[in-house]
């Protein structure tokens, strides 16, 4: 079983501040960690490998210091790590990021399952995982909370929904994004930490990817950030009081007027 786990290095959200001028994250002096949701993806990837034998490769796209996140993944039982890093990737939105990661994964080779965290703690988009599956043209299941069974060519999982869960079966290769209910990430082992320290991290740059350069980085990013602002706090609703009949009458009137003003 060849397993890939996609991770992202993010600022430690436990102590994060927003610049009131620009409304962006203050990244200076903030410790970087593996995106907490990706820890569950790493754990599930390693557990799947331990159950079925195989190989887990962690992939991240980011600046050179993202290597630290990859080494931490190795200390938890990941076998190999690939750092996708190039100035050409700067300014990538979720579309360009998932395209770049998909190209990197194709380059890495044969795979059966890709694990991602459900979203990143900094951007919160939850788009990159599904984006990778679309670029690779493989099925995806998001919000996976349990892997029920994996065979040589199929996997059956539980997908969390607001009301409960769905059981979904998919052919391999498949991409899963996982929620925190799926497991409890392990503490690294001493042998894992020692292995992580000396492990070779494979580096892939833009020219290694056989990618369409027009689709990379800022140029390949259709997202336009027009404005970043803090939404105003929600105002209290209007309370309708009186007897039941009176409230119903008032409500009907409000709805009619509201509809009229909207039209």
């Amino acid at each position: 079983m060849n397993i890939i786990v996609c991770i992202k290095q993010v600022p430690d959200t436990a102590n994060i501040e927003i610049d009131p001028q620009t409304n962006t994250l203050i990244r200076e002096g903030v410790e970087s960690i593996i995106n907490p949701f990706d820890m569950y993806a790493i754990e599930e990837a390693v557990r799947t490998k331990e159950k079925l034998n195989g190989n887990v490769i962690a992939v991240t796209m980011g600046p050179p210091q993202a290597e630290i996140a990859l080494r931490e993944a190795i200390s938890m039982g990941v076998d190999e790590a690939v750092l996708v890093s190039d100035r050409a990737f700067a300014g990538s939105d979720t579309w360009a990021t998932s395209y770049t990661l998909a190209c990197a994964i194709r380059k890495i080779g044969k795979f059966d399952i890709i694990f991602c965290g459900k979203q990143a703690a900094d951007g919160d988009t939850a788009q990159v995982g599904p984006g990778i599956s679309m670029h690779l043209d493989i099925p995806q299941v998001t919000y996976v909370k349990k892997i029920e069974e994996v065979t040589a060519d199929r996997a059956r999982v539980e997908r969390m929904t607001e009301e409960g869960y769905e059981i979904i079966e998919a052919p391999l290769p498949v991409l899963f994004t996982v929620v925190k209910e799926i497991n409890e990430p392990r503490i690294p082992s001493l042998k894992g930490k020692m292995k992580a320290k000396s492990a070779q991290i494979k580096a892939l740059t833009a020219k290694d990817l056989d990618a369409d350069e027009k689709l990379l980085g800022l140029n390949g990013s259709p997202t336009q950030v027009v404005k970043i602002f803090t939404p105003p706090p929600r105002e209290g609703g209007e309370m309708l009081t009186g007897s039941t009949e009176e409230i119903v009458d008032k409500l009907v009137k409000v709805l009619k007027d509201e509809c009229k003003s909207k039209i």
Partner: protein
């Protein structure tokens, strides 16, 4: 403080600290209250490869020594002295095998202990034989290819939970302390049972039970070393294990000091944080200095032992004596810093004070440590 740790020792420290912060600290008070043995945490420690850091790689360990064991024990103890001793007492049970075991015995028993699949325990103390270890009355009678054990060991840490026990028993009572021998006894051997779990002042999550031997037949291959070596085995084991108690004491003291320092900064009286008052500052300064001095002595002793030095009894005893006295003093002062809150079980420091007390008593009372130190000092003087 770095103590010039190697890369690997730093990894052990960081890993043990992560386990202490994420797995032990949140549940320490609960285990103390329920007096429950911390198996789930020992499992995490085992999966992290820390169970056998002091055991040779050839027997499944990570190849470290007393220093590595002390580093991990100190970190665990900062969060809970009781959970830490359940870990460290397994090393106490394993050391007789490491020091005096035959190749076959090491191959048979050490790998499971190193992997954390089995815990070990050490049985010397009896109701009538505490500091006077020569008064051991448990007997081991040779009977063909077997020894027959009879007697009761008291207050054995990890008793009932461990699988592998190293036990001191008399093979020849007429020879006094030279008639004692050390044996390996496995849990489940017919005639080997456990007394009830003791209720204690501190380290309440750890298990303390009697080992009861009634006509307990063990194969003669379970003898460690030779007949008559029992007390040497015990003393050499303590020489190696005492810095571990010192490390436990340093961890307990540091843990209490960390709480006291944070509280002193937060607690406001007379319109100011109490940490701004000189009376409080002098107290905190003394606590910090004592802990640092104790730590220095513990790692000096551990380093000396790991260097392969022969004369280690004095420094080993000093490290246990000094660190445990510091732990008692510092944890008592930590309760004082907290004032009335410190006396309440809703706050963490009274537990550190309860946990600290045992470090002055077990693995030889601090009075016995002083005797050892004085005898060694006199011997050194006479050699000159």
């Amino acid at each position: 403080m770095s103590y010039l740790l190697t890369e690997e020792q730093k990894m052990i420290r960081d890993l043990a600290r992560q386990i202490a912060d994420e797995k032990i600290r949140p549940v320490a008070a609960e285990y103390d209250e329920k007096e429950e043995f911390p198996w789930p945490i020992l499992k995490v420690i085992a999966e992290s490869d820390l169970a056998g850091i002091y055991i040779e790689e050839a027997y499944g360990g990570m190849g470290g020594g007393v220093t590595e064991l002390c580093i991990a024990t100190e970190e665990f103890s900062k969060a809970c002295g009781g959970i830490a001793v359940s870990y460290a007492a397994s090393a106490l049970g394993a050391y007789p095998i490491i020091l005096y075991g035959s190749e076959d015995q090491k191959k048979k028993y050490l790998p499971d202990i190193a992997k954390g699949k089995k815990l070990a325990a050490f049985g010397l103390t009896e109701a009538g034989a505490g500091s006077d270890a020569g008064a051991v009355s448990t007997t081991a009678k040779k009977d063909g290819d077997y020894y027959i054990l009879d007697g009761v060991k008291q207050w054995i840490t990890n008793g009932g939970e461990a699988e592998t026990y190293t036990v001191i028993a008399m093979t020849d009572k007429t020879k006094g302390s030279r008639g004692a021998s050390a044996f390996i006894v496995e849990k489940g051997t017919p005639g080997f049972e456990f007394g009830k779990k003791e209720k204690k002042l501190g380290i309440r999550s750890s298990a303390t039970r009697e080992l009861i031997f009634t006509n307990c037949k063990i194969p003669k291959e379970n003898l460690l070393g030779k007949e008559g070596l029992g007390f040497i085995v015990a003393m050499k084991t303590f020489d190696k294990s005492r810095p571990g108690i010192g490390a436990q004491a340093v961890g307990i003291a540091q843990g209490a000091l960390d709480h006291a320092l944070k509280y002193a900064k937060e607690r406001v009286q007379f319109g100011k944080p109490i940490s701004s008052f000189q009376g409080m500052q002098f107290m905190l300064a003394d606590m910090g200095t004592q802990v640092e001095a104790a730590r220095a002595l513990v790692y000096l002793a551990a380093g000396l032992i790991d260097s392969g030095a022969k004369d280690i009894s004095k420094l080993s005893a000093m490290s246990k004596l000094f660190a445990s006295d510091v732990a008692m003093k510092v944890t008592t002062d930590a309760v004082q810093v907290f004032g009335g809150y410190g006396y309440m079980r809703d706050y963490p420091v009274e537990k550190y004070m309860r946990d600290a007390k045992i470090t002055q008593i077990y693995e030889g009372t601090n009075q016995i440590q002083r005797s050892i130190i004085a005898v060694e000092m006199i011997k050194e003087m006479l050699r000159k």
